[in-house]
């Protein structure tokens, strides 16, 4: 790399050159985080999942989850205000925990985002099948496969065309589905009769704690704007804001959905796929509502696949630029300046499990649940690492404040507990065993890379550094 005369360490060209630098407006950055979180889809599912565990204490579970996510947001902001990276959290972690932490975080993110893409594909295909089944009672396996294939093709094309287009698409889709679902929920809650539904059982503190996991899982992906640091126009302002607004907005939506559910417990179960005939509720509230809700959720899942893919390919791109992943993943599209090769390799691979699962007749509910559970563990591990890295990073650059230390001290143990709960909760040994295998594979990968690519590992944490052209003329030394 050419360095500019007079200022040591200042490069003439950013190490992540190739992406379209500093173009994306604040709305596009926000859209990325919002779409990955997919609050529209989660709004319909969260109240049911959380009340199963926490009963009437469910709003408290959601509130605790939101507070925990708030701590993670604060830790992410520490980095996002200071560096703009394509690798998101793992590039951040590298600056605080060094290569070991960065590698662990990168593995967690690839696992989390990759499986989130696959899970959202399953989700979209599941709800599309349910929608078709409501209208025509036929076998919909072919529909399910077709939805996965068409949607994968569409998101691949959008991801290659670039985040500007993708952002607009996602913002519209997500905005429409949130409005739709909110409207349906609130209308129905107001109009639904005080049905014969059994009142929810009061559950103690243990129940509330158990409800935190599904509530936290509903937030995953709010960090994904951090992968757009290179492409955002004013990354140090727009990226932390996008992350905070997404987390805050999602918390608000989940609390509203939660309260609506508690006020009218018959509405949601009658609407969702769990009761395809509409259950007793549909007779009272009409057939239009489940259809609208399904459409909203399909759209939300669709936007989520695209957004999660956007982040995944940027993480792969960043790893490739560091030399940790194959260099071919670091190639960008000549005209659109996006990691096109990573898109082309990742999408078919991620579409495979949904297609195979659907053809093999696995219940979409189980497939979605399994993929999401594993993805959640990946995300939680990445969040834990970034919280751990924040104070160490600040101490290294001499900007440590007590508040950040407190945040880390609270967030890290709580996240660790949530991860343990996620692994040991009654759901069979499949999840812990899978996670164990992933950890073993990752450790083996680390040992192998240490042998062959030690220098590349030490160089992890590439980000969009200040280049000579960002400096005031008078400071450039060249005159």
């Amino acid at each position: 790399m050419r360095t500019t005369r007079g200022i040591p360490g200042l490069r003439a060209r950013s190490p992540v050159a190739g992406l379209r630098r500093r173009t994306l407006g604040p709305l596009g950055v926000l859209a990325q985080s919002v779409a990955t979180t997919a609050p529209a889809g989660a709004m319909a599912a969260v109240p049911l999942l959380v009340t199963t565990a926490a009963g009437r204490g469910a709003p408290w579970s959601v509130a605790i989850a939101a507070a925990l996510v708030g701590l993670v947001v604060a830790s992410i902001a520490v980095f996002a205000r200071r560096m703009a990276a394509a690798g998101g959290l793992y590039s951040f972690t590298a600056k605080g925990l060094g290569p070991g932490g960065a590698y662990a975080c990168a593995v967690s993110m690839v696992l989390g985002y990759g499986l989130l893409v696959a899970a959202a594909l399953v989700g979209a295909s599941w709800y599309a099948r349910a929608l078709v089944e409501r209208l025509w009672p036929v076998d919909t396996t072919a529909v399910g496969v077709a939805v996965v294939v068409v949607l994968s093709g569409a998101i691949a094309a959008c991801a290659v065309r670039g985040v500007r287009l993708a952002g607009r698409v996602m913002l519209v889709v997500e905005g429409v589905s949130i409005t739709l679902i909110l409207a349906v929920l609130v209308t129905l809650a107001v109009r639904a009769p005080a049905g014969p539904a059994a009142p929810l059982p009061p559950v103690g503190a243990a129940g509330i704690v158990a409800g935190v996991l599904p509530a936290v899982a509903a937030f995953i992906g709010f960090d994904s704007a951090t992968a757009l640091g290179v492409e955002a126009r004013r990354p140090f302002a727009s990226v932390p804001r996008a992350v905070a607004v997404t987390a805050g907005g999602a918390a608000l939506l989940y609390l509203v959905a939660m309260l609506v559910h508690l006020a009218a417990p018959t509405v949601l179960p009658a609407l969702t796929v769990a009761a395809p005939d509409g259950g007793p509720g549909a007779a009272v509230i009409g057939d239009w509502a489940p259809l609208l809700l399904d459409a909203g959720i399909i759209a939300s899942f669709g936007a989520c696949t695209l957004a999660a893919l956007n982040t995944l390919v940027r993480v792969l791109f960043s790893l490739a630029r560091e030399g940790v992943a194959p260099a071919v993943l670091g190639r960008t599209h000549r005209r659109h300046h996006t990691p096109a090769v990573a898109v082309g390799l990742a999408v078919p691979l991620l579409a495979l499990p949904p297609v195979v699962g659907t053809l093999a007749g696995v219940e979409p509910q189980d497939l979605l649940g399994g993929l999401l559970a594993l993805a959640t563990v990946g995300f939680l591990a990445a969040y834990l690492l970034v919280c751990l890295a924040a104070p160490r990073f600040l101490r290294r650059i001499g900007e440590l404040t007590p508040a950040v230390v407190v945040v880390a001290w609270v967030a890290v143990p709580v996240l660790a507990v949530v991860i343990v709960v996620a692994l040991v909760r009654p759901g069979g040994v499949l999840l812990p065993v899978t996670v164990g295998l992933v950890v073993l594979a990752a450790v083996a990968g680390w040992v192998a890379l240490r042998r062959t690519h030690a220098a590349e590992l030490d160089g992890m944490g590439v980000y969009d550094e200040t280049t000579a052209s960002d400096l005031h003329l008078a400071s450039r030394g060249g005159g």
């Binding site: 905070a244 650059i397 900007e399 404040t401 960002d470 008078a474």
Partner: protein, 246 residues
């Protein structure tokens, strides 16, 4: 939720504004590489406040963080606060006068301040367009394209000033690639329908960064011709001017 730095400072907090300006001044005075701790100690502003204000100034691009993430320097946007007065040495004026004697077109020498264009020696017989207007529409002039080609930044769709103006970002990007390849920027009737211009960069002898642009303006149809001999004369002048301006 994380406090948003931009929103914690309002016009009702004169102390914050004062501190921000003091920090800007301190970084300018300290030169490249002042750390947050240095600045906090020097100005006696509490560390947490200093860090927040520094992050805000970096987010707004008045300051930049250096690659070690500890040090700060003035950002490109700070140039807008006080444009440096550009003096044109007599020797450079003499080169321009000789050039004007050899060609029958308007010959202008322009410098670049951040992303603005300032005339160092405009042709008195063929007054150039307003520098403010040229700076707003860098995509449509040859001097502006030299600057855009230098920075290789994302392009927003430009304004269509004449029917010929290239506004499509992809097409413009192609033109800029051409500028980087040939070293010559050219436009025919894109800024003013009947005029065109061609320009070459004056580059610093050391690291070769763009210091100024040397442009010839004339009727659009004549600019469109290859004008190889003219380009050669221009390039010769640019080489002569380089040590005088850098």
């Amino acid at each position: 939720m994380s406090p948003d730095a931009a929103r914690t400072i309002t016009g009702r907090q004169p102390q914050a504004v004062r501190s921000a300006l003091a920090i800007l001044e301190a970084v300018a005075a300290a030169g490249i590489g002042a750390t947050a701790k240095d600045i906090s100690a020097e100005l006696r502003i509490p560390p947490a406040t200093t860090y927040r204000l520094l992050n805000l100034l970096v987010a707004e691009e008045y300051l930049v963080r250096l690659p070690d993430l500890r040090g700060f320097a003035l950002g490109r946007r700070a140039a807008n606060l006080a444009p440096a007065p550009l003096a044109t040495p007599t020797a450079a004026r003499a080169v321009m006068d000789r050039l004007r004697g050899r060609v029958r077109w308007g010959a202008h020498l322009a410098g670049y301040v951040g992303h603005r264009l300032v005339f160092l020696d405009p042709d008195p017989d063929h007054p150039p367009a307003d520098p403010g207007e040229l700076s707003r529409h860098l995509h449509a002039s040859s001097l502006g394209r030299l600057l855009l080609a230098e920075h290789d930044e994302p392009l927003a769709p430009g304004t269509r000033l004449t029917p010929h103006t290239v506004v499509d970002p992809h097409e413009l990007r192609r033109r800029l690639d051409e500028v980087r390849e040939t070293g010559v920027a050219r436009q025919c009737g894109e800024f003013r329908a009947e005029f065109g211009c061609l320009a070459v960069g004056v580059r610093a002898p050391g690291d070769g960064h763009l210091v100024a642009g040397l442009a010839l303006t004339g009727p659009a149809a004549r600019v469109a011709a290859p004008n190889e001999d003219l380009v050669e004369v221009l390039q010769g002048c640019a080489v002569e001017l380089a040590p005088l301006l850098a």
